[in-house]
């Protein structure tokens, strides 16, 4: 029995099917990365696991308990940080700690919060508001908040996609370090296969939507700690990346949609300068009416 278990989960929004036949099982302490195109339904998938959305079909279990509503046993790091801007870094994390451990003494809560602020190297920014922090720092607060709740599983929803490449690399290292200290079960959603390979034990591609589903999982057998510089030359890394990218592109290829759209061919004619102008200088009525046409366009995703 796996730790996190999704069986035939599907999600429709009205008539549009976003996810279908999602089967996923994650072992305790495993780091799984789900790689997909933007708009494929990655965020929908993580919202389902978080309990923020209800699936249209199928079952989801965490530690043998059905997932029905959001709860602090699943810590989420959102793509857009989702910090409360009127609370300081400390207060944002305290709010989470407070709701998970309401019975702790004030000192214990404070020490707990400070431990996690230190873990993400933000002690100097402890009393700053999110608005005064850079994107990378905000995302670290968000990570610290999720970890401070001591969740059973950590859900990372494209946590680094809004950051610049250098900050992203630093934060990847940091996530890798924290994970190796904590050994939490992690599900990382990302659009960057390299990021997935660098961080995860297993990579599962999500095919292109609509009706996206999970592909076969690729095991990453690069020993930890992984080194960012040498990993690029690792033959296993190169092969994995090629396989994953190939799989994802193939999943996209057999989707062709045609859109019919209406066109209006406007009434444009060259001006004949031989015709004497009227007093107003402008022709009163168009000679030819705008023409309506339809065209069909093949769209390659």
């Amino acid at each position: 029995m796996s730790y996190l278990e999704l069986n035939d989960v599907s999600k429709d929004f009205g008539a549009a099917s976003v996810l279908k036949d999602i089967n996923l099982s994650v072992e305790k302490g495993e780091f799984v990365a789900i790689v997909g195109f933007s708009g494929a339904g990655k965020t929908t998938l993580i919202s389902l696991i978080a309990g923020l959305l209800k699936p249209s079909g199928g079952t989801m279990k965490l530690n043998d308990l059905e997932i029905t509503a959001p709860g602090p046993d699943r810590g989420i790091v959102f793509q857009n940080y989702s910090l409360l801007p009127w609370l300081s870094v400390f207060e944002n994390i305290l709010l989470a700690v407070d709701s998970v451990n309401p019975n702790w003494s004030a000192d214990k809560k404070k020490a707990h919060v400070e431990k996690y602020i230190a873990m993400v190297n933000l002690t100097p920014a402890r009393d700053k508001k999110p608005g005064e922090l850079s994107g990378g720092m905000r995302q670290r607060v968000s990570v610290a908040r999720a970890l401070a709740m001591d969740p059973q599983i950590l859900l990372l929803d494209e946590p680094l996609s809004a950051l610049d490449a250098l900050t992203r690399a630093t934060l990847q290292d940091e996530i890798s370090r924290i994970w190796s200290e904590d050994k939490k079960t992690v599900v990382l959603i990302t659009n960057d296969p390299d990021e997935g390979i660098y961080l995860a034990d297993r990579i599962i591609p999500l095919t292109a939507g609509p009706g996206a589903t999970l592909g076969p999982s690729f095991k990453v057998e690069i020993p930890r700690p992984r080194d960012r510089k040498s990993i690029n030359h690792d033959p296993h890394f190169k092969q994995l990346r090629r396989e994953i990218v190939e799989f994802m592109l193939n999943s996209k290829q057999d989707r062709h949609t045609a859109i019919t759209r209406k066109l209006i061919l406007p009434d444009i004619e060259p001006e004949d300068l031989n015709i004497p102008r009227s007093m107003t200088g402008w022709r009163k009525t168009p000679i030819r009416k705008s023409e309506l046409k339809e065209e069909s366009v093949e769209v390659k995703p």
Partner: protein, 261 residues
């Protein structure tokens, strides 16, 4: 025009001077009953140089009248906020509540204070001596409430889904969600509503005092009109305008302080 030193002072003075000139011309030409600026100043002087004098019920210094008006406004305004803010929250949070009460609110909103006041007086006839004050309070509250109600409702509806998701994921209790997420996220909108409400409350006070004969700037204005001292009407108008302006400025300072989000 190029800006120069002291332009912030000189340019508005030019505007004032232009109005004074126009006023003087009007006095001399078509509005024979209109007191001249100079006469207005002479007649109003005792009320301005001794702003807190009390010579009789309806013969007091202008700041004393203003003070009475401000107290009445403060009471009515406080009432409006206490009632209006929760209504706004319910409107923002519950679709059913909106469907039930929104049409009613839309109908009541444009009703003039002059129309509410008689109803207020009727409502509180049993209060005897206090009837006119209670009626005035009722009118101020019900007229100035709407901007607070509407802005709070809009603010609640505009709370980003992210913040609500945070509350859900952290499993915050209802009270905690209210005080840690909903209210702070709505505050900027609420204060815009409060500011607009204060403006309306100050508008209504004059009408309310005129009709009830309460001592205050508005009551004084109406009394002096009836006793044909037109200079004091102008004094009252200027006072009302200046006080309204100061109130608005004060509120905008407070408002800016809460614009965190």
């Amino acid at each position: 025009m190029k800006s120069f030193k002291l332009d912030w002072l000189v340019l508005p003075l030019i505007g004032v001077a232009a109005v004074l000139v126009l006023w003087q011309i009007s006095c001399a030409s078509w509005a024979k009953d209109l007191p001249t600026p100079e006469k207005t100043w002479q007649v109003s002087k005792p009320y301005i140089v001794e702003p807190f004098a009390k010579r009789g019920e309806m013969d007091q210094g202008i700041l004393r009248f203003t003070w009475y008006s401000l107290i009445l406004v403060a009471k009515g305004y406080a009432l409006a906020l206490i009632i209006g803010t929760p209504i706004g929250f319910f409107l923002g949070l519950s679709k059913t509540f909106t469907k039930i009460f929104d049409p009613l609110i839309q109908v009541l909103r444009p009703v003039s204070p002059l129309a509410w006041l008689p109803l207020g007086l009727v409502l509180f006839t049993s209060a005897g001596k206090n009837a006119s004050e209670l009626g005035a309070l009722f009118t101020i509250a019900i007229c100035s409430m709407w901007p607070t109600v509407m802005n709070t409702a809009v603010g609640v509806r505009a709370i980003p889904q992210d913040y609500l998701n945070v509350a859900k994921v952290l499993k915050l209790s209802r009270t905690k969600t209210l005080f840690k997420v909903l209210i702070p996220a709505t505050l900027p909108y609420m204060f815009t509503g409060f500011r607009l409400s204060l403006g309306i409350a100050w508008l209504v006070i004059v009408a309310a005092e005129m009709l009830t004969g309460q001592p205050g700037v508005g009551g004084f204005l109406w009394q002096e009109y009836n006793s044909l001292i037109y200079e004091h009407i102008i004094l009252c108008i200027v006072t009302i305008g200046v006080v309204g302006f100061i109130l608005d400025r004060l509120m905008s300072v407070v408002e800016k302080k809460f614009k965190t989000a």
